[in-house]
Structure formats: structure tokens, C-alpha cells
Symmetry: C2
Subunit: 204 residues, 2 copies
Amino acid sequence: MQLPSTLLENAVAQFSKLPGIGKKTALRLVLHLLKQDVDEVQLFGETIAKMRRDSRFCQRCHNISDGDICAICANSARNQKVICVVENIRDVIAIESTQQFNGTYHVLGGIISPLDGIGPDQLSIESLVNRIEAESVEELVFALSPNIQGDTTIYYIQKKMAHLSCRVTTIARGIAFGGELEYADEMTLARSIANRLPVQQYVK
Amino acid sequence: MQLPSTLLENAVAQFSKLPGIGKKTALRLVLHLLKQDVDEVQLFGETIAKMRRDSRFCQRCHNISDGDICAICANSARNQKVICVVENIRDVIAIESTQQFNGTYHVLGGIISPLDGIGPDQLSIESLVNRIEAESVEELVFALSPNIQGDTTIYYIQKKMAHLSCRVTTIARGIAFGGELEYADEMTLARSIANRLPVQQYVK
């Protein structure tokens, strides 16, 4: 695809770098912006650049934050003795939108995956263990991906905190709401039978 | 969806304004950019803003251009006596990528569509008619959308240039390559039969 202008070409190249956006979609987005006001597109560019430049991460839980400590960590109404361990910021947003969790978070920044070259040192595991010790945390809730890497990460962290008395739980695995039994994979179905709940508890 | 940072929220809001990008996709893109280098994201923002600020349109054919006259209009190897009339820049790019057209273009900026509030005055029709007259153009090839608005636009332009002797053609409508006859709509099939070609001409 030959583009008639270098400026257009550069803009399309920039959009094409984003995940899930190919050259055709990028062109559609750029031509859309071309029809907008100059000021509006200026604001678009500045907002994105500013977001990256000025974004900070909570020193305690590594969540994205406007200040040194994020709003969740700074909120005294939340149970600071319960930490939910997640891979990334998107997981925090997903769990927050359920409004079912009143504790705090710890963003690992990934999970242990030797094949992708991600070892424990690249993750914020040490700061998590220090935090559990310093703040005498009562419960650690793992909300990691249900795969071998996630399980490895849980195992590793548990070994690191073996000397600490802190309850360790993981979010429930099972058949999703609206999911069809016959299409569920064997592993999920097997676990959901093994970890079956009394009906009273389920409808609570 | 509650986001943990105002900077993040603003960036997501900006991306959500783009066509076909919802809040979840916008968040995915923003979190991707958050992981990139500050300089790279700065460049992203600047490239987009610069594209809008510095982009110019060819004074002759209204195509996007780096200068006053676009590369196609300035190219003396192209037949300047043949003009292909298209709705927008994307159509120019699509036709250019076929490498089958050696004339020039005229970008109308849309088609006549009273329901959307687009009348002939919002389109570059006057400059097209002037151009046909001034440059004694020999052929006008309409490559507009095959719908009632496209036909209206063709009809309107033809009336405007009734006093000029210029051959008027339109790109062929018919069954697309790879298209199945049984799934073609009646209108397309009917036209493709009415406008059937001698086989010699078809395989030329």
C-alpha cells in the first residue's frame, strides 16, 4: 500500500505499532484524525505523551497512580491486611469493577515464565514478601492466570514466604456464568467438581 | 469501569474517540504504550499531531499531499487528461494500489446525501467542473459508491458539465472475483448480465 504523503505514512506507521492494529486499520484511524480539528488532534497527541511521561506507579503495590501512593493503598476504608496478587494493572481494573474486593493489591508485573525470559527477579516478588512481613498481612489472595506459569509463580512466592504466618488463598476456578458444561475443558470441569461447594454457600 | 489514574483515564478517553475503538480496546492500547519508552510514546504523540497540523491538500485534486500539488498531479508520466472522481483519500489509495490507473484523481470529499446534510456545496464539485473546462479533460471516470447517493452525485455532476465535451465513464459493477453467484444481490447480478462483455475483451 503506497501512501500519497510522508506525514500520513509516518502517522500510519506509528498506529500500526499498537497491538491488534494493522496497516489498514491504522490508515482508517489516521484519516479519521485528519478530518478533526487541529487543536483536537494536538490534544490527542499531547494527552498520550503526557500519560506516559507523567504516569507514576504506587510505591507500595506497583499499581498505576497519580501520586506516590495509589488511591486504593491510601484508602483507610479498605482492608490493608488483605492483598490480592495480580499480574498487571488490567487485572486490578477488572477486579475493581466487580466491587467485590475490599482489600489492597500487589501488581507483580508479569508471571514467572522461563520460556519468555521472565524470572522472579524481574517481578516485584521481593517487595511483596517484604510488605507481608512489614505490614503483618493476614491474607494473600492469588488472582493469577490459571496456567503452569501462574501455578509456578504461586509456588515460588509461597516458598519465599514460608517463614511468615499469612493465610494464602486463590480465586475460585470453575465453569463461568453463561458457560456451557459440554464446551468446558476437562481441567476446568475436573477442578470445578473437585472443589464443589454446598449450595447454601454458593447462593450466599 | 473505574480507572486508577486520571492520566490513564484521559488517555483512554482520547483513544475511545477513534472509530471502532471502545473503552476496553482503548485501555489495552494505553497500557501497551505505558510499557514503551517515554521517548517512543512522545514520538507517537508528536507524529500524530504533526500529521494533522502540517498535512496539506493538493490544490488541484484535493488529495492529501506534502506540498501544494500532490505527487500524482505533478507526475508528467501520468495522463493529465483523464480524471478519476472519488469520494475520499482512501479510494485514491485503493485504486493506486491496483496499479491499473494512469490518470489523475479528483477527491470530492464525500457524496451528495441530503439525509446526512451533505449537499453539492460541501463537495469539491465546482472545482472539478472548472478543472475539466480549464484543462480540456478528455475523460471523467466515476469511481463512487454504487448506491443511490453515488448515482445522485454522478447525475448532478453530469448536469453541471453538460456544456463540456468530455467522455464520462464509470468503473464496472459486477460479480467480484471469488464471489459466489448465488450470494450476489439481485441488483449486482442484474447489472452484470445487462453489461456483459465479449469474452475476448474480458480476458484481455
